[in-house]
Symmetry: D2
């Protein structure tokens, strides 16, 4: 069977007079965009502009809700009650959907941001609760979360509940022997060599897994690779990955094209 | 032909630990609610709770977007560029629609709030621009704005562009001879006598107009009356209006039941 | 030696159109006020008004900084880096000091709010860091924190570093055998009987300690009692405490009058 | 008598993960900095860092308060009631003063930002009210506002009330025949030629005035020139001005050195 892979990138994180990220630069190399929704980054006009940019480039769109912490860019954990947290997510996804409706575009997926993403990776019940509400409220968008060495249970639960799950890996990040992301606080957590990163991206797709920081092989179901457009260097890395995947005849496509 | 009237009220204006308004008290007397969307008031959990309250009481729901000015409660004019203003409205309406989608409820209407409402009453081109974007983005919700002595041109424009327009009057407010609201800064601008307010409400519906502050009759097309739930007294006024309309065999119904 | 006690209360927590608390009602019964600084509650006009209210009533003023989380009222933990947390405190205390300078009033003390207060009770190094910066930046205001059964080390450190420490107890809260506040999630954590609360307040001052929830006696150095002005009932409780302290010839005075 | 001139620049406008401006680049060329205070830009950690940067470079510091409109960068007019506006200014100046107190630095001046600056230039009574409150609350900092062709009355009022006034001109802006800034909406409003800008700066100081867009000479009392550090180009312009002033033996000094 043919291998498909999605390439996703966070986009639309500018705010008012403040610009972050090279959205124009990275958009040619990706198939799906995670668009910030105004709580940790972005504002209504940035959202509108980013949705149009994705439309023009044929990139599928997902919502990228975060903690309500603009000054912290959603990177700081906030101890929000589950009910409030679910409502924060609905609010943000709904707001983005307003702009999708404006241009008659579908909501392909939802990917949580930053500290909210990390928090729910460790709280499966709460993650399922959020995923369920999204399924029921927004026409069953794909729920995108972290691929690890042990997602069997999560995948089975989602399958049973009719939640479409997409698992993502990070070609530029080192992994522990448990198939989890090595903490950024540790040396070597973030890879810098573009050739190495691109080689690793191809390996993730072709061999369905990756080598941990100690050299151990971790098998993983992976549907999408996370790229970055923060600066010129990360855009080059994205271009590199895209090129090497092409050279290896790997089919790049947005999640909705191959996840059913 | 039978007379229909809608009774609308602003709701869901609480915020976090802060409570405003007696939503539970006024909800039995109205047919449509304007729910705040988080920019001038409200938060995601308040929005969720208010949508459920309306659902339980059979009250139809509209979005109530305002200026991005929580500390000013959306009552202070902000000189926002038209494009940004349109995007601010889409964002807020989309966010509310997320909660409507959660409970499979339709968006009946949109009513702007406070200084934004007042501003667009004086800027017909911008009002039409906003109304057009709402029509195209959100399945043509009814656009609710101020009934004055002179809405012929606005009504005709909306008719031609397929925008469903609802005009509202304020039974507790005095009007100028031009059929505009008498400024709150002038004495007598806000009526206090509940019997007088209710009598005036009936007159507005039955006689299709109202008497100005100088005693002049102003004919008006009126689809909805604006009630208040700010405190015990305004809730009593709402109850009074509701009762007197019933006693006069006037049919109260949400806008979507009689505006096509 | 004569016993002195300060009575403190959180004040100035209203925000824009939103009112919280009965500041006018509780102000006659207290000697020190903790004024919110705009991050978890309050706005500049509320701060100005609250400072004037305290001035008119001869109540001494402290800053009451919290996490930057208005919608959560500063009650939700946020994982803020120490440097940012210190700066958040300086910003808020400085802002309040602007209003004190307007009326030529001194900053008597600083009391952290909500989740920030609770967090630093458990992080002595960070608490000392904050207290040190306040000492150096704002003319050595008193630092107010929780009295527990074990504050010997903290008091000694503060003494050595020239930080003036005030310890507060809660007459309406149950305590564990370790002299810590019983979690609000547990039954009986908050006392309701006004007579019991007032009797306990006197005992705290006269006997320098309190009985834990199991009946064990916990000796405590206590400089100030925390009262509440949230509603009519809590104001009555405050009045009761004030009255019973008077009847027992206990001298009530602001912290700066007896802490040197 | 020797000519003195101050060179001021807006600084510290970054926010959380968002960076704006080349503060490090422009700081060598200026004598006074206007530091944003968190309402239209900046956050507590940016403020702390910017104060330290100024201290290290011997640059005097002023507060730069703006409208409470982060997404609009304080560039959009807000119709705020005078009392609230005054309190917004006190809050922001107080917050900055917290960081000045931390490093034992004086508050040299206050310069309003963006739409607030422009608004008060047209509202002399409100400007005087703000200036008076600043004089009384913060040890009489210098109040910096726009030099025009007609500031006689304003200067006289300030003199009588003991308000220290500094008037600023913009070497890179065209002026009308009334000595007011030519609107940015008109062509030629912003000069681009660095040599021309620097030449004009020298002329402003030496000849105490400037040529309007029609070639008319406008005499002006000017104490400070506004430079920019937004990007590489504006920093070059600042360096140019600084160099040409030196070459013309004009003494550059912070306002507090020559305004008494």
């Amino acid at each position: 069977m043919k291998s498909y892979i999605d390439l996703n990138c966070d986009m639309g994180e500018s705010y008012g007079a403040y610009t972050i990220g090279g959205d124009d630069g990275v958009v040619p190399y990706i198939t799906s965009a995670n668009i910030a929704c105004g709580f940790h980054a972005s504002d209504p006009t940035v959202m509108d502009r980013t949705v149009r940019l994705c439309k023009e480039n044929g990139v599928r769109i997902g919502a990228h809700p975060g903690f309500p912490d603009l000054v912290g860019f959603g990177r700081r954990f906030m101890d929000i009650a589950p009910e409030d947290l679910v409502n924060d997510v609905i609010y943000q996804v709904g707001a983005l959907k307003g702009f999708l409706d404006r241009y008659a575009l579908p909501l392909q997926h939802v990917k949580l941001h930053g500290a909210l993403y990390n928090y729910l990776v460790t709280k499966e019940e709460l993650l399922m609760k959020v995923a369920r509400v999204l399924r029921d409220s927004f026409g069953n968008p794909i729920f995108l979360t972290l691929a690890t060495g042990n997602t069997d249970k999560l995948r089975e639960r989602c399958r049973q509940e009719g939640i479409r799950l997409a698992l993502e890996a990070f070609p530029d990040r080192a992994y522990t022997d448990d198939g989890e992301l090595l903490s950024r606080k540790l040396p070597g957590a973030v890879l810098k060599d573009h050739e190495e990163i691109a080689r690793r991206a191809v390996e993730m797709v072709v061999k369905k897994g990756l080598e941990s920081v100690t050299g151990r092989w971790i098998g993983m179901e992976i549907h999408t690779l996370c790229l970055h457009g923060d600066n010129r260097e990360s855009i080059e890395a994205a271009a590199n990955i895209n090129r090497l995947l092409r050279e290896n005849q790997i089919q790049m496509a947005p999640l909705s094209k191959f996840l059913t």
